[in-house]
Symmetry: C2
Subunit: 284 residues, 2 copies
Amino acid sequence: MTLETVSETRCFTGTQGVYRHDSSSTGTPMTFAVYVPDHAEGEKLPVLWWLSGLTCTHENAMTKCAYHKACADLGVILVGPDTSPRGPDLNGDDVPDDEAYDFGQGAGFYVNATQDPWAKHFHMRDYVEQELPAIVAEHFPVDMDRQGISGHSMGGHGALTVSLRNPGRFRSTSAFAPIVSPLNCPWGEKALTGYLGADKAAWREYDACALIEDGARLSDLLVDQGAADNFLEEQLKTHLLEKAVAEAGMNATIRMQDGYDHSYFFVSTFIADHIAWHAERLKA
Amino acid sequence: MTLETVSETRCFTGTQGVYRHDSSSTGTPMTFAVYVPDHAEGEKLPVLWWLSGLTCTHENAMTKCAYHKACADLGVILVGPDTSPRGPDLNGDDVPDDEAYDFGQGAGFYVNATQDPWAKHFHMRDYVEQELPAIVAEHFPVDMDRQGISGHSMGGHGALTVSLRNPGRFRSTSAFAPIVSPLNCPWGEKALTGYLGADKAAWREYDACALIEDGARLSDLLVDQGAADNFLEEQLKTHLLEKAVAEAGMNATIRMQDGYDHSYFFVSTFIADHIAWHAERLKA
């Protein structure tokens, strides 16, 4: 596998890189971002996976999220994948160029699609669970025994579900304004019907609340949710996650943050908190 | 003057607002950003002006510059104007829609243009020196006796020249990767020829080095410049500013920062330093 360096830029005491490669999961080129703090030669650092939300590429978090200082100070590598396959390779397979902001390109929902025309390329679950971790382990100074995962909105959904499905892989899991139950919101209905079909049994492994109901557990969980988030009531439904973790007796801190909305202004406010919380667990 | 609130968003312990108004300086609607930290009722806070660089709107710094935490912690209001007039009002006056990234819309250079078709609308000097300060003083809890100014690239040029031309107005002046002498670089040649005409005598009040040569002084100055900045040699020429302040015996700290480029990754790395430096002087 050839990794192309798109850019490497100094930021705080580390390097923000952008890389591209041909993905076997998606059958397209994929671009991802990696921030590597300065470190001693040969040293391996813990790694935090950051999954982004609807409409985002690999770029949004790296320019808007302001994670660099906390990662640099605490010695944590941050990896930010794109949110879907993109580009001309999709057109030959009848994938529309821009279906909608909440479906198709920029909205992969971290699933392996089974329905046409998405089934051939939209394998973001395989990409973030299998392919990209192997690439990151090969090319960057990461200690894969110390992984954490977080994300925002659709990416919060991704972080929760990837972690719940892979017990023991992540020492720490957090989320910002996650879609906690695609089974129970319009964004989820639309995307999972499109990618997975109408049989909702197939959706449960892509629904954090359903996974917990079905017995999956995290050792710990941190969630921040803006109380002034326009999407809270109809799409995010944090209370369903609160109910699921309570019924499961699962360790979780779910914080409603007064006055904050769904934007990166909210995420950037609390990202240093989250990185410190992850670092505590990754370095324990 | 009516001020339209475009958006107000909570970020750290404060509010990032975006506002629009009809500008008498430019004869167009103008949009600007203001971050107001939480504060006691009736309290007035010091204000830091942030002038942005080529291609930027009011939005780039507020999403990429990561100034919110430092402003909130130190109780400093930050105001970020747009970099030029924009929009349909210009077309009737034969102003091209998108001349180039370094001239015309997004590239006002903080001058009062005297050449057609720019002379009617491109009065960014009046806008940032006179009109916007009056609006900010009227609508926001600012203490206009405690003003600082900073900016990036073309905005660094703006910060230096606005401050040098208005002795005593700003208690603190800093810049990131400023264009220190439009008289001596291609960006300056192109823009000032276009806006001011070929007579370079008219350019001197828009050239930080020339202003210092001609006797203007700042009580103090902080400049950060990335040593890996692609524009350093041809456009920014920090050494000309070093020479001018040395010859003038002017107090200045000009730091070359190894490894950093011209991007907001560089600015965001050092913005908290600058805000702390301004706050010291604004609160003294």
